[in-house]
Structures are given as C-alpha cells and as structure tokens.
Symmetry: C2
Subunit: 174 residues, 2 copies
DNA sequence: CCAACCATGTAAGCTGTTACATGATTGA
DNA sequence: TCAATCATGTAACAGCTTACATGGTTGG
C-alpha cells in the first residue's frame, strides 16, 4: 500500500477541509501546485485507492461526494511530512520536497518547519558540493561547452534553492 | 512510435559514438546526467524499442553489442532538439529542456543554439510573469506562509534559469 | 435554449520501477 | 580464488496519460 506523491498531495489538500474530487482537480488546474495532471483519469482512481486503504472517507452530501481525511490518513501524512530531506530526494525530485514543505503548514510547532528547512539546506549544499566536485574531476574534461553549461545551470539552480532556504528560515525565526 | 525522453537521451548519447548498453547505464549511474534510472530494466527495453523502430542498429563485436544511431535516428533526434522551447515544457519538465540543450552540441551552426536559448529565455520569463501575477491575485490571499514561501521558491528557481540563459548566450556570442 | 461548467467515472496503453536471473572477465 | 565489475536480459507491477463516456446545473 505504497502511497504515491499524488496520493500525499490529495491527503494534504483534504487535511485542511473535506473536498470533492472536482474541487481537487480544479486546484491542480488553476494553481501552480505541483505539476499534477488535473485529468479525471488520474485524480479519481487515486482517491479511490486512498479510500480503499482507509486514508480517506467518502461522505455523500446532496449528490456530491466529499472526501474527508481519516485518522490513519493524518498519521500517514504526518509521517510523510516529517521525513528528513535527503540528498537523494532533492536530486531526483525537489518538487516533492517543496510539496512536503508547503503541507507543513498544518504542524503546530515551528521547530518542525525549521528543522525541515535545515535538513533541506544541508542536502542542497551537499549536492552542490557534489556537482562542483564533478566539474573539477577528470570526467568533466570530456564535457563540451553545451555540457558544461547544462551542469552550470544545475549548480545555479540549486544555489537558488540554497539561498531560498536561508531566507525561509529567517521568515520563520522573525 | 512515440519516443520517450529516455529514448531521446539514448539517441543523443549514441549520436556521438556507438555505445554498449552497459556503457549507457554507467553514464546514467556515474554522471549527473538527467535523472534516469541506470537499472537494466529501463535501459535494455528502451534500446530494444529504438532498434525495433530502426532508430538504432545493433552490431555485435566480440560478444558486446554496440548500438549505432541510424539515419532515421539522426533525423528524429535533430527534430527533437530543434523543437522550440515552450512555457508548457519548462513548466512541467525543465530537465528535459536542459537535456535537449546539452545534446545541441552536435549542431554545426551556433545560431541554432542561440535561437534555442532565446526561446528558453522567453518561455522562462513568461512563466515568471505568470507566477508573479498569481502572487498578486486574490487566489494568493488564501496562501499560508508555507504556501507563499513554496511559490517564492519557484520564482527564485526560474529567475536562476533566466540569469543562466543570459549568461549562456554570452558564452556563445563571445 | 444552448454553451459552459460542474461532476464523476472507466478502459487501453505506455513507461518505468524493482526484483529476479544469468554468466563472463578481471584484478588483488 | 574470489569478489567486484562487466554485460544483458525478463517478469510482475504500479502509476499516470489520453481518450472515451455520461449526465446535471446554471448563466447569458
């Protein structure tokens, strides 16, 4: 019963208030949230699966089916959000990491958020170090100008994430 | 016969020199190229499919099977690389865009690269405008501090891509 | 009244992942 | 000789996408 990233996004969105499938689709369609497809073919089967696993509960109210998060759903979401940020995660799916950050809004304690941002900062810095080490290695001598520039794009991108993490920590500390 | 992004990556890597399946796996494993899985379960079936579509050709040389790109493969790759950068692409898959950029190394004419970078710059700027417009809209007033910061992360990230595209254009002009 | 939007779903198909499986070669 | 690495593959499964399908409601 592995929960996909879309599954967690749905849990996070229903955690605040119960939602219809259509409302959830609209969020993906109208806001820059994640990069999830808003197609019914992705949302409805995903909701169905969450219900099957007792993470969501469907209650019909005048023709519309509202999805409520269950206690088990809350526990699963919390565990997802509190997982420390690793280098592997930011490397392969930093979007997922940012999604996790956004849903940390529900956590009472600010120290949870600050801790998240701290592990984020370290993971990003560590990845930047890796990329820069690669650029200095012999492997990099084989790079063409295009290849070198593509790598530099990656480094600059992660430097922006790093700067953001410092800024975000300040926002929560003040 | 849609070619997946992994398929194009394999075409791009074999375009320079014929490669064994194992060598291709090693590239994904040892270098920060794309974020492709280096597992045999992804590479070998992908190569098989390219061969079936006559985009690659397998030639056995003392037990190893070297994959050569065919003329049809070269044409497919070229058309992929020359597709203009759109807002939709950088929004959903900027990694793919960067992959396309990296493989433009094979193009003789620098103006192809400069044109690519120019459409990249415009697409990125346009997306930044969208994000900033969203932040100023009423929709954004519903954002929590976490949500606002996640959005700001996105904006900063694309600003880094924008700055890079200016820098890259300078590198090719000088 | 009719177009647009609300609202929910299914079916086929593709891609990629993990895990399993095998065997050759090479360097310590 | 034995562990690591080279080298190639298959099978089961999960997940998402596109396309298809249906019907209600509402505002101009």
């Amino acid at each position: 019963m592995e929960i996909s990233i879309l599954g967690y996004a749905l849990l996070g969105l229903t955690a605040g208030a119960a939602q219809t499938g259509y409302a959830l689709r609209k969020i993906f369609e109208d806001t820059p949230m994640g990069n999830f497809s808003s197609s019914p073919g992705s949302i409805y089967p995903a909701l169905k699966k969450l219900i099957k696993n007792d993470l969501l509960e469907q209650r019909n109210v005048n023709g519309k089916s509202l999805h409520h998060i269950t206690d088990a759903g809350k526990i699963a979401l919390k565990s997802f959000l509190r997982t420390p940020v690793t280098k592997a995660e930011i490397q392969s799916n930093i979007d997922h990491t940012l999604l996790r950050f956004a849903f940390l809004q529900g956590e009472e304690d600010i120290s949870i958020t600050l801790n998240f941002l701290n592990t984020f900062e370290n993971a990003v810095q560590s990845h930047i170090d890796d990329l820069q080490a690669f650029m200095k290695s012999e492997s990099a001598s084989a790079l063409t100008l295009h290849g070198r520039l593509a790598m530099e794009n990656g480094i600059r991108s992660f430097q922006a994430h790093h700067a953001w993490s410092i800024y975000a920590q300040q926002e929560f500390s003040s």
